[in-house]
Assembly symmetry: C2
Homo-oligomer: 103 residues x 2
Amino acid sequence: MSIIFSDKIRSLRKEKKIPQRQLAAVLEIDTATYCKIEKGDRRAKREQVIILSDLLQVDSKELLRLWSADKVYDIIAEEEEATQILNVVAENIIKYKRKVAQA
Amino acid sequence: MSIIFSDKIRSLRKEKKIPQRQLAAVLEIDTATYCKIEKGDRRAKREQVIILSDLLQVDSKELLRLWSADKVYDIIAEEEEATQILNVVAENIIKYKRKVAQA
DNA sequence: TTTTGTCTTGACATTATTTGGCAAATATAA
DNA sequence: TTATATTTGCCAAATAATGTCAAGACAAAA
Protein backbone atom coordinates (compact mmCIF):
# COMPACT_ATOMS: atom_id res chain seq x y z
CA MET A 1 0.00 0.00 0.00
CA SER A 2 0.96 3.57 -0.56
CA ILE A 3 2.08 6.00 2.12
CA ILE A 4 1.03 9.35 0.78
CA PHE A 5 -1.69 9.63 3.38
CA SER A 6 -0.21 7.63 6.21
CA ASP A 7 3.07 9.51 6.19
CA LYS A 8 1.18 12.73 6.58
CA ILE A 9 -0.93 11.73 9.55
CA ARG A 10 2.02 10.17 11.24
CA SER A 11 4.14 13.27 10.99
CA LEU A 12 1.28 15.47 12.10
CA ARG A 13 0.63 13.28 15.08
CA LYS A 14 4.25 13.25 16.13
CA GLU A 15 4.45 16.97 15.68
CA LYS A 16 1.62 17.36 18.13
CA LYS A 17 2.92 14.59 20.37
CA ILE A 18 -0.35 12.75 20.48
CA PRO A 19 -0.22 9.01 21.17
CA GLN A 20 -1.93 6.67 18.72
CA ARG A 21 -4.06 5.43 21.59
CA GLN A 22 -5.72 8.80 21.89
CA LEU A 23 -6.61 9.14 18.22
CA ALA A 24 -7.77 5.55 18.13
CA ALA A 25 -10.09 6.27 21.05
CA VAL A 26 -11.80 9.13 19.27
CA LEU A 27 -12.08 7.09 16.10
CA GLU A 28 -13.48 4.26 18.21
CA ILE A 29 -11.10 1.69 16.86
CA ASP A 30 -8.43 -0.53 18.32
CA THR A 31 -4.96 0.91 18.75
CA ALA A 32 -3.66 -1.85 16.54
CA THR A 33 -6.05 -0.84 13.82
CA TYR A 34 -5.00 2.75 14.06
CA CYS A 35 -1.42 1.70 13.91
CA LYS A 36 -2.11 -0.16 10.72
CA ILE A 37 -3.73 2.87 9.20
CA GLU A 38 -0.69 4.91 10.03
CA LYS A 39 1.56 2.26 8.54
CA GLY A 40 -0.51 2.01 5.41
CA ASP A 41 -1.67 -1.52 6.12
CA ARG A 42 -5.29 -0.50 6.49
CA ARG A 43 -7.31 2.11 4.72
CA ALA A 44 -9.02 4.74 6.85
CA LYS A 45 -12.67 5.37 6.17
CA ARG A 46 -13.75 8.66 4.76
CA GLU A 47 -15.41 9.80 7.97
CA GLN A 48 -12.32 8.83 9.90
CA VAL A 49 -10.21 11.04 7.68
CA ILE A 50 -12.48 13.94 8.47
CA ILE A 51 -12.31 13.28 12.19
CA LEU A 52 -8.56 12.98 11.95
CA SER A 53 -8.20 16.27 10.13
CA ASP A 54 -10.02 17.85 13.02
CA LEU A 55 -7.89 16.17 15.67
CA LEU A 56 -4.69 16.95 13.84
CA GLN A 57 -5.81 20.46 13.02
CA VAL A 58 -5.33 20.24 9.33
CA ASP A 59 -7.63 21.11 6.47
CA SER A 60 -9.88 18.16 5.83
CA LYS A 61 -9.78 18.80 2.10
CA GLU A 62 -6.04 18.43 2.11
CA LEU A 63 -6.17 15.20 4.02
CA LEU A 64 -8.92 13.81 1.83
CA ARG A 65 -6.87 14.70 -1.18
CA LEU A 66 -3.95 12.66 0.09
CA TRP A 67 -6.27 9.87 1.10
CA SER A 68 -7.71 9.65 -2.41
CA ALA A 69 -4.31 10.04 -3.99
CA ASP A 70 -3.23 7.00 -2.03
CA LYS A 71 -5.93 4.89 -3.56
CA VAL A 72 -5.11 6.07 -7.04
CA TYR A 73 -1.44 5.51 -6.52
CA ASP A 74 -2.05 1.91 -5.54
CA ILE A 75 -3.81 1.28 -8.80
CA ILE A 76 -1.26 2.73 -11.17
CA ALA A 77 1.99 2.33 -9.29
CA GLU A 78 2.76 -1.01 -10.91
CA GLU A 79 1.83 0.17 -14.39
CA GLU A 80 4.62 1.25 -16.66
CA GLU A 81 2.54 4.00 -18.20
CA ALA A 82 1.42 5.49 -14.91
CA THR A 83 1.72 9.07 -16.03
CA GLN A 84 -0.12 8.52 -19.29
CA ILE A 85 -2.91 6.86 -17.39
CA LEU A 86 -3.30 9.98 -15.29
CA ASN A 87 -3.52 12.01 -18.48
CA VAL A 88 -6.29 9.83 -19.82
CA VAL A 89 -8.20 10.29 -16.60
CA ALA A 90 -7.70 14.04 -16.65
CA GLU A 91 -9.03 14.21 -20.20
CA ASN A 92 -12.09 12.27 -19.26
CA ILE A 93 -12.81 14.45 -16.28
CA ILE A 94 -12.83 17.43 -18.58
CA LYS A 95 -15.07 15.62 -21.03
CA TYR A 96 -17.51 14.85 -18.31
CA LYS A 97 -17.52 18.40 -17.00
CA ARG A 98 -18.47 19.60 -20.46
CA LYS A 99 -21.37 17.19 -20.54
CA VAL A 100 -22.61 18.40 -17.19
CA ALA A 101 -22.26 22.02 -18.27
CA GLN A 102 -24.41 21.33 -21.31
CA ALA A 103 -27.16 19.69 -19.31
CA MET B 1 -18.73 2.49 -13.09
CA SER B 2 -16.81 4.38 -15.68
CA ILE B 3 -16.97 3.86 -19.42
CA ILE B 4 -13.54 4.92 -20.62
CA PHE B 5 -12.61 1.34 -21.35
CA SER B 6 -15.97 -0.15 -22.16
CA ASP B 7 -16.87 2.51 -24.71
CA LYS B 8 -13.68 1.72 -26.54
CA ILE B 9 -14.12 -2.01 -26.80
CA ARG B 10 -17.72 -1.61 -27.77
CA SER B 11 -16.96 0.71 -30.64
CA LEU B 12 -14.09 -1.47 -31.81
CA ARG B 13 -16.28 -4.54 -31.74
CA LYS B 14 -19.04 -2.85 -33.68
CA GLU B 15 -16.57 -1.52 -36.19
CA LYS B 16 -15.43 -5.05 -36.86
CA LYS B 17 -18.98 -6.43 -36.68
CA ILE B 18 -18.11 -9.12 -34.21
CA PRO B 19 -20.92 -10.41 -32.01
CA GLN B 20 -20.38 -10.35 -28.24
CA ARG B 21 -20.94 -14.10 -28.22
CA GLN B 22 -17.78 -14.62 -30.19
CA LEU B 23 -15.54 -12.56 -27.96
CA ALA B 24 -17.12 -14.11 -24.89
CA ALA B 25 -16.27 -17.54 -26.24
CA VAL B 26 -12.60 -16.73 -26.62
CA LEU B 27 -12.51 -15.17 -23.17
CA GLU B 28 -14.28 -18.27 -21.87
CA ILE B 29 -17.00 -16.34 -20.11
CA ASP B 30 -20.74 -16.13 -20.39
CA THR B 31 -22.23 -13.77 -22.95
CA ALA B 32 -23.96 -12.00 -20.09
CA THR B 33 -20.66 -11.41 -18.39
CA TYR B 34 -19.12 -10.03 -21.53
CA CYS B 35 -22.09 -7.79 -22.00
CA LYS B 36 -21.61 -6.41 -18.53
CA ILE B 37 -17.98 -5.72 -19.19
CA GLU B 38 -18.93 -3.81 -22.28
CA LYS B 39 -21.53 -1.88 -20.33
CA GLY B 40 -19.14 -1.13 -17.53
CA ASP B 41 -21.02 -3.22 -14.99
CA ARG B 42 -18.16 -5.65 -14.54
CA ARG B 43 -14.46 -5.17 -14.66
CA ALA B 44 -12.44 -7.16 -17.17
CA LYS B 45 -9.41 -8.96 -15.87
CA ARG B 46 -5.98 -7.88 -16.98
CA GLU B 47 -5.40 -10.99 -19.08
CA GLN B 48 -8.78 -10.53 -20.66
CA VAL B 49 -7.84 -7.03 -21.72
CA ILE B 50 -4.78 -8.40 -23.43
CA ILE B 51 -6.75 -11.09 -25.22
CA LEU B 52 -9.30 -8.48 -26.26
CA SER B 53 -6.65 -6.19 -27.68
CA ASP B 54 -5.57 -9.07 -29.85
CA LEU B 55 -9.09 -9.92 -31.00
CA LEU B 56 -9.93 -6.30 -31.66
CA GLN B 57 -6.58 -5.64 -33.27
CA VAL B 58 -5.59 -2.75 -31.10
CA ASP B 59 -2.42 -2.06 -29.17
CA SER B 60 -2.65 -3.80 -25.84
CA LYS B 61 -0.87 -0.96 -24.12
CA GLU B 62 -3.52 1.45 -25.24
CA LEU B 63 -6.30 -0.76 -24.03
CA LEU B 64 -4.60 -1.38 -20.71
CA ARG B 65 -4.18 2.33 -20.33
CA LEU B 66 -7.90 2.87 -20.71
CA TRP B 67 -8.61 -0.03 -18.43
CA SER B 68 -6.47 1.43 -15.67
CA ALA B 69 -7.83 4.90 -16.27
CA ASP B 70 -11.28 3.49 -15.68
CA LYS B 71 -10.32 2.27 -12.25
CA VAL B 72 -8.75 5.57 -11.34
CA TYR B 73 -11.72 7.48 -12.63
CA ASP B 74 -14.06 5.52 -10.43
CA ILE B 75 -12.11 6.52 -7.37
CA ILE B 76 -11.92 10.23 -7.96
CA ALA B 77 -15.00 10.97 -10.04
CA GLU B 78 -17.11 11.82 -7.00
CA GLU B 79 -14.42 13.95 -5.42
CA GLU B 80 -14.64 17.67 -5.89
CA GLU B 81 -10.90 18.06 -6.16
CA ALA B 82 -10.44 15.33 -8.72
CA THR B 83 -7.84 17.19 -10.74
CA GLN B 84 -5.79 18.17 -7.71
CA ILE B 85 -5.78 14.56 -6.59
CA LEU B 86 -4.26 13.58 -9.91
CA ASN B 87 -1.58 16.18 -9.37
CA VAL B 88 -0.72 14.78 -5.98
CA VAL B 89 -0.39 11.34 -7.49
CA ALA B 90 1.77 12.61 -10.31
CA GLU B 91 4.09 14.31 -7.83
CA ASN B 92 4.45 11.14 -5.85
CA ILE B 93 5.23 9.08 -8.89
CA ILE B 94 8.06 11.44 -9.64
CA LYS B 95 9.26 11.25 -6.07
CA TYR B 96 9.34 7.51 -6.21
CA LYS B 97 11.16 7.46 -9.52
CA ARG B 98 13.86 9.60 -7.97
CA LYS B 99 14.24 7.16 -5.14
CA VAL B 100 14.58 4.25 -7.53
CA ALA B 101 17.13 6.15 -9.58
CA GLN B 102 19.21 6.75 -6.48
CA ALA B 103 19.21 3.11 -5.47
C1' DT C 1 -46.63 -10.80 -37.14
C1' DT C 2 -43.61 -14.49 -36.15
C1' DT C 3 -39.01 -16.08 -36.10
C1' DT C 4 -34.20 -15.77 -35.21
C1' DG C 5 -30.24 -14.12 -33.31
C1' DT C 6 -28.27 -10.60 -30.32
C1' DC C 7 -28.01 -8.06 -26.36
C1' DT C 8 -29.41 -6.82 -21.62
C1' DT C 9 -31.04 -7.33 -16.90
C1' DG C 10 -31.88 -9.07 -12.23
C1' DA C 11 -31.38 -12.42 -8.76
C1' DC C 12 -28.44 -15.48 -6.78
C1' DA C 13 -24.44 -18.33 -5.18
C1' DT C 14 -19.57 -18.27 -4.99
C1' DT C 15 -15.24 -16.32 -4.21
C1' DA C 16 -12.06 -12.78 -3.01
C1' DT C 17 -10.85 -8.87 -0.46
C1' DT C 18 -11.11 -5.88 3.40
C1' DT C 19 -12.03 -5.02 7.93
C1' DG C 20 -11.36 -4.80 13.13
C1' DG C 21 -10.09 -6.96 17.27
C1' DC C 22 -7.43 -9.80 20.29
C1' DA C 23 -3.20 -11.35 22.10
C1' DA C 24 1.47 -11.54 21.93
C1' DA C 25 5.76 -9.33 20.63
C1' DT C 26 8.68 -5.51 20.18
C1' DA C 27 10.23 -0.87 20.97
C1' DT C 28 10.73 3.34 23.62
C1' DA C 29 10.80 6.07 27.82
C1' DA C 30 10.97 6.87 32.63
C1' DT D 1 13.34 -2.93 35.53
C1' DT D 2 8.71 -1.04 34.95
C1' DA D 3 5.45 1.34 32.43
C1' DT D 4 3.78 2.96 28.16
C1' DA D 5 3.59 2.95 23.15
C1' DT D 6 3.76 0.77 18.92
C1' DT D 7 3.69 -3.15 15.94
C1' DT D 8 2.69 -7.85 14.24
C1' DG D 9 0.25 -12.22 13.18
C1' DC D 10 -3.80 -14.44 13.05
C1' DC D 11 -8.70 -14.98 12.98
C1' DA D 12 -13.72 -14.20 12.19
C1' DA D 13 -16.97 -11.14 10.41
C1' DA D 14 -18.32 -7.90 7.02
C1' DT D 15 -18.18 -6.22 2.40
C1' DA D 16 -17.35 -6.25 -2.40
C1' DA D 17 -16.67 -8.40 -6.79
C1' DT D 18 -17.37 -12.17 -9.90
C1' DG D 19 -19.85 -15.38 -13.03
C1' DT D 20 -23.95 -17.92 -14.28
C1' DC D 21 -28.64 -18.84 -15.16
C1' DA D 22 -33.05 -17.62 -16.67
C1' DA D 23 -35.97 -14.37 -18.40
C1' DG D 24 -36.80 -10.26 -20.92
C1' DA D 25 -35.97 -6.63 -24.59
C1' DC D 26 -34.65 -5.40 -29.01
C1' DA D 27 -33.81 -5.40 -33.95
C1' DA D 28 -33.64 -7.32 -38.59
C1' DA D 29 -35.45 -10.52 -41.69
C1' DA D 30 -38.82 -13.66 -43.39
